[in-house]
C-alpha cells in the first residue's frame, strides 16, 4: 500500500498552513455544509460558469464540481514554487526563440533534431522570426504535483493557451462571498490582479509598428467553444474586446476589427485558437475561424499574436523530457522543479523497460491531453494493458511512460464528510516584458476515492488555492 502525503496532517498534528482550517472544518455541521455547497453551486450556475477545461470535450453546459475545502500553501512553499515556475517559463521561451532561430541546442546535441524539427507543432512559417521581447509563450501553465513536504514534480507544460484561469478567479470570488471570516482569519495573498497583469503583459509585447497605447483583443473560436465562458470572462475583466475571426480583417499592413464606427486597428491578439486555424492563407486553407493574411501582418511587425504561433513545440510531451536540459543550457542553472522521470518509448531501451513494467507505469500519448489516451498501469485491467502493449509496439514514438506518482491529498468534502483526495496544481505564469505569477492557481481534485486522475472529464473537481502571506 502506497502512502500518500497529506497536505493537512502530519501524523496526528495539523501542518502549519492548515492550522486555522481545522476549527473552521469542525465548526461546520453536515447541514450547514450542504447548504453552503448548494449556495456555491447556485452562484456558479447563475454566473454561467459551465465550461470544460480546454481539450477535454464534454457537455458545454456542465458544471465542474467545486469543493469548498481550500488547498493551502505557506509563503515559503510558494516562494520556491514561484522561482521554479519562472525559471521554467524563461527556459521554455529561450528554447522557442532558439529553435526558430539558429537551433543552438540542437547543434550542441542536447536535444535530438528530429524531436524538434519533425514535431507537428514545429511551425516552419515562423522560422527566423523573433516575437516582441523574445517571447513565444506569454501564458505558461505548468501542471505540478506534490509527493512530499518538499517534493514537487512538473507533470507537463502548457505553452499555447492553457485554460482554467477563470476557475482560479471565480473559486476565490465565491469563497470570499461565502466565508468572509476565513479571509479575515487567514492572511491570504490575493489573485484578483491576474486580469490586469495579463492585460499589461499582452500590452508589453506590442508589435514593432505599434506607436501608441496598444489595443488588445481576445480571439475566440466562437460561442460554441467549450471555453467560451472563460474567454468572455477574461475579456470583461481585462476590459478588452472579445472577437471572433470574422470580426477581424487585414488591410494593408495592419489588422483591424469591425466596429459600428468603422475599422479600428488591433495591435495584440490573445488568441484562444490553435495555430492551424488562425490564418487560412498560411495554415489550413479551409479554416473559417481565423483571419486571412494575419501571418503576413504578424511577421512584418504589424500585430502580435499571443501565444506566438509555433509555441506548441515546447510543450510536447516528448520535448518535456528535455526541459531540465534547456534550463541548464540557456540559463546555466540547475532546475528548481523536478521533471517526472520519463521513459520515451521511441528509444529502444526505454521501450523495453516500459513494456515489461506496464503494470506499474502511467503511459501517455505524446500528443494526447485531458486524461484520454492514457494508461494508469496499477489501476488498469489486463485487457487495457494488452491493448496499450499493442499500441506502443505499433507506434512507439507516440508514447511516453512515467512512474505512478503518489499524488498528495488534501481534505475534501465528500458525501460521508471529509476525506483525503488527490490533487494537482496549475499556476499561470505570465511572460512579457516581465515574468509574473499571481500567488495561486487552479487546484484540481480527483473526487473519486483513490483516483489519481484529476481531469474534469474524468470526474475531477476544483478548489480554491491559497498562498498565505508570510
Amino acid at each position: 500500500m502506497t502512502s500518500y502525503f497529506n497536505e493537512m496532517y502530519q501524523g496526528k498534528s495539523v501542518r502549519v498552513p492548515y492550522a486555522r482550517l481545522q476549527d473552521w472544518m469542525n465548526s461546520m455541521p453536515a447541514e450547514l455544509r450542504q447548504m453552503k455547497q448548494a449556495e456555491a453551486e447556485a452562484l456558479f450556475r447563475r454566473i454561467g460558469i459551465t465550461f470544460a477545461v480546454y481539450g477535454e470535450g464534454g457537455d458545454p453546459d456542465r458544471l465542474i464540481p467545486f469543493d469548498m475545502f481550500p488547498r493551502v500553501f505557506s509563503g515559503a512553499e510558494w516562494a520556491k514554487l514561484e522561482r521554479g515556475i519562472k525559471q521554467r517559463a524563461r527556459a521554455l521561451n529561450a528554447f522557442l526563440v532558439d529553435v526558430y532561430g539558429r537551433g543552438e541546442i540542437v547543434r550542441a546535441g542536447r536535444i535530438p533534431a528530429r524531436l524538434v524539427y519533425l514535431n507537428e507543432a514545429y511551425e516552419k512559417a515562423v522560422v527566423g522570426f523573433v516575437p516582441p521581447k523574445g517571447v513565444y509563450s506569454h501564458i505558461v501553465g505548468i501542471d505540478l504535483v506534490r509527493t512530499g513536504p518538499d517534493e514537487f514534480f512538473v507533470l507537463e507544460d502548457n505553452c499555447r493557451t492553457p485554460s482554467g484561469v477563470s476557475y482560479m478567479l471565480e473559486n476565490r470570488e465565491i469563497m470570499m462571498r461565502m466565508f468572509p471570516d476565513l479571509f479575515r482569519e487567514n492572511r491570504i495573498e490575493p489573485v484578483d490582479s491576474y486580469p490586469e497583469i495579463l492585460r499589461r503583459t499582452l500590452a508589453s509585447v506590442a508589435p514593432m509598428k505599434c506607436d501608441r497605447e496598444p489595443t488588445v483583443v481576445i480571439l475566440t473560436p466562437g460561442h460554441f467553444n467549450s471555453a467560451y465562458y472563460e474567454h468572455s470572462f477574461l475579456a470583461d475583466l481585462m476590459g478588452v474586446e472579445l472577437v471572433e475571426g470574422q470580426d477581424l480583417f487585414v488591410e494593408g499592413e495592419f489588422v483591424f476589427m469591425r466596429t459600428t464606427e468603422g475599422p479600428r486597428r488591433v495591435d495584440v491578439i490573445y488568441r484562444r485558437l490553435d495555430d492551424a486555424y488562425i490564418d487560412p492563407l498560411c495554415f489550413r486553407p479551409d479554416s473559417m475561424l481565423g483571419v486571412p493574411g494575419l501571418m503576413d501582418v504578424y511577421r512584418s511587425g504589424g500585430v502580435s499574436i499571443c501565444s506566438a504561433p509555433g509555441a506548441g513545440v515546447a510543450d510536447d510531451k516528448a520535448v518535456y523530457t528535455y526541459v531540465p536540459e534547456m534550463i541548464r543550457f540557456y540559463l546555466g542553472e540547475e532546475p528548481i522543479l523536478n521533471n517526472v522521470p520519463t521513459w520515451q518509448c521511441g528509444k529502444d531501451d526505454d521501450c523495453k523497460y516500459v513494456l515489461s513494467h506496464l503494470n506499474e507505469l502511467v503511459v501517455k500519448e505524446v500528443h494526447g491531453s485531458g486524461g484520454y489516451g492514457m494508461l494508469v498501469g496499477p489501476k488498469a485491467t489486463r485487457d487495457q494493458v494488452e491493448m496499450f502493449r499493442g499500441r506502443i509496439t505499433a507506434n512507439p514514438h507516440n508514447y511516453i511512460a512515467q512512474p505512478t506518482l503518489a499524488l498528495s491529498t488534501t481534505p475534501t468534502f465528500v458525501a460521508e464528510g471529509i476525506a483525503p483526495r488527490h490533487v494537482d496544481l496549475r499556476p499561470y505564469c505570465l511572460v512579457g516584458e516581465r515574468i509574473e505569477l499571481v500567488p495561486g492557481g487552479l487546484t484540481r481534485v480527483a473526487l473519486t476515492e483513490g483516483s489519481l486522475v484529476v481531469n474534469s472529464s474524468q470526474g475531477g473537481g476544483v478548489k480554491d488555492t491559497w498562498v498565505l502571506a508570510e
Binding site: R46, I47, G48, H223, Y229, S232, F233, A235, D236, E241, L242, V243, E244, Q246, D247, M257, R258, T259, T260, E261, G262, P263
Partner: protein, 316 residues
C-alpha cells in the same frame, strides 16, 4: 463597439419582441375561434398561419389546423422559426454571446426565461392552457425589457437593443393590423358589422391595448379610430409612429455619440415626417392594406440601412 456585438444586441431584442408577437397571434386566433362560425368564413387559424408566413411548414408537419397543434406550433415547435421557443432560444443565445455587454439582471431574466421554458416544455400539454402560455410569454419578455430599462448602461449597445425592439414592434403592429383587415374579414360587406368590431376588439386585446383605446377614444369601436390609434397616435406604445419615433431618437443618439451621421438617420427621419403629416383619411384613401404593405416594406428597408450603416462590419 464590435459590429457583431451590436448585431447580437439588436437581434436579442428583435427575437424577444417576436416571441411576444407569436404569443399575441395565438391569443387572437383563440379568441376569434370562440366566435360562432358563420357560413363562408375562412378558417381563422388558417388565416393566422398565412399571416405568420408559416402555413406551409405547419401543413407539412401537422396537416389540419387544430387548435392544439397550433398551440404547439406557435409556442414550442422549433421547426417554426418564429415560435416562442425558437425566439426565446435565439434571444438567449444572442445574449450569451454578448454576455459581458449585459448586466447580471438582464442575463438572469433572459436565462431564467429560457430555463423555465425548457421546463414548461417537459410538462404534459394537458396541464398547460393557452392563457398560461401567453401570460408566461408576456411576463417574461416584460421582465427582460424591464431589466434592460432599469439596469443597462445607456451606451450604444442600449441604442442597438432599442432599435431592434422598435423595428420589430413596428413590423409586428403593421402585420397584426393587416391580418385583421385583409385576412380575417371574409368579405367587404362585413365592414362595420358585429364581426368586424369583435375582431378589432380582439386585436386590441391581443396588443394589451383595448383599455387604453377606450380611455383615449371612447364610444364605438370603428376602423378609423383603431387605425388612428395603432398608426398615428404617439400615446399608444405599439403604434407605428411611436416605434418610428423611437428608432429616430436612438439613431440620433448614435450619431451624436459617434459624431457621425449615416444614411440611417435620414431614412428614419423621413419616415417619421411622413407619418407625422398623415391623416387617417389619407390612409383609408390609399387603402389600409396598401398603406400597411408599403409601411412594412419601408421598415424592411430601414432595417437593411441600419445593417449597412452599423451592423454588417463593412462600416468605413
Amino acid at each position: 463597439m464590435l459590429s457583431r456585438t451590436a448585431d447580437n444586441l439588436y437581434w436579442l431584442a428583435r427575437y424577444l419582441e417576436r416571441a411576444e408577437t407569436s404569443a399575441r397571434l395565438l391569443e387572437v386566433g383563440a379568441r376569434i375561434a370562440l366566435m360562432p362560425s358563420a357560413a363562408g368564413y375562412r378558417n381563422e387559424w388558417e388565416s393566422l398561419l398565412h399571416a405568420s408566413g408559416t402555413a406551409n411548414g405547419f401543413a407539412k408537419k401537422y396537416g389540419d389546423a387544430v387548435q392544439r397543434n397550433l398551440e404547439s406550433w406557435f409556442f414550442f415547435d422549433t421547426d417554426n422559426a418564429s415560435s416562442v421557443m425558437s425566439c426565446i432560444t435565439a434571444a438567449r443565445e444572442n445574449g450569451r454571446i454578448v454576455r459581458t455587454a449585459l448586466t447580471t439582471q438582464v442575463w438572469d431574466a433572459l436565462n431564467t426565461a429560457f430555463q423555465e421554458l425548457r421546463q414548461l416544455e417537459r410538462r404534459p400539454r394537458s396541464e398547460l392552457d393557452l392563457s398560461t402560455l401567453t401570460d408566461w410569454t408576456m411576463r417574461n419578455t416584460a421582465l427582460v425589457r424591464g431589466s434592460i430599462d432599469a439596469t443597462l448602461l445607456r451606451n450604444d449597445g442600449w441604442d442597438f437593443l432599442n432599435l431592434g425592439y422598435y423595428l420589430e414592434r413596428a413590423d409586428n403592429t403593421a402585420r397584426l393590423m393587416d391580418v385583421k383587415y385583409y385576412v380575417l374579414l371574409p368579405r367587404l360587406e362585413f365592414v362595420g358589422s358585429g364581426l368586424d368590431n369583435y375582431q378589432w376588439t380582439t386585436l386590441l386585446r391581443a396588443m394589451s391595448s383595448h383599455r387604453a383605446f377606450h380611455w383615449a377614444y371612447g364610444g364605438e369601436v370603428t376602423a378609423a379610430k383603431i387605425a388612428h390609434f395603432l398608426i398615428l397616435n404617439p400615446q399608444c406604445p405599439r403604434s407605428l409612429i411611436t416605434c418610428v419615433e423611437g428608432m429616430t431618437s436612438h439613431l440620433d443618439r448614435l450619431s451624436r455619440g459617434y459624431q457621425r451621421k449615416t444614411f440611417a438617420q435620414d431614412r428614419a427621419r423621413s419616415l417619421q415626417a411622413e407619418l407625422a403629416e398623415l391623416r387617417v383619411e389619407d390612409i383609408f384613401e390609399e387603402g389600409l392594406h396598401e398603406f400597411l404593405s408599403r409601411f412594412i416594406g419601408d421598415m424592411a428597408r430601414a432595417g437593411s440601412v441600419i445593417r449597412d450603416c452599423y451592423l454588417n462590419g463593412d462600416v468605413r
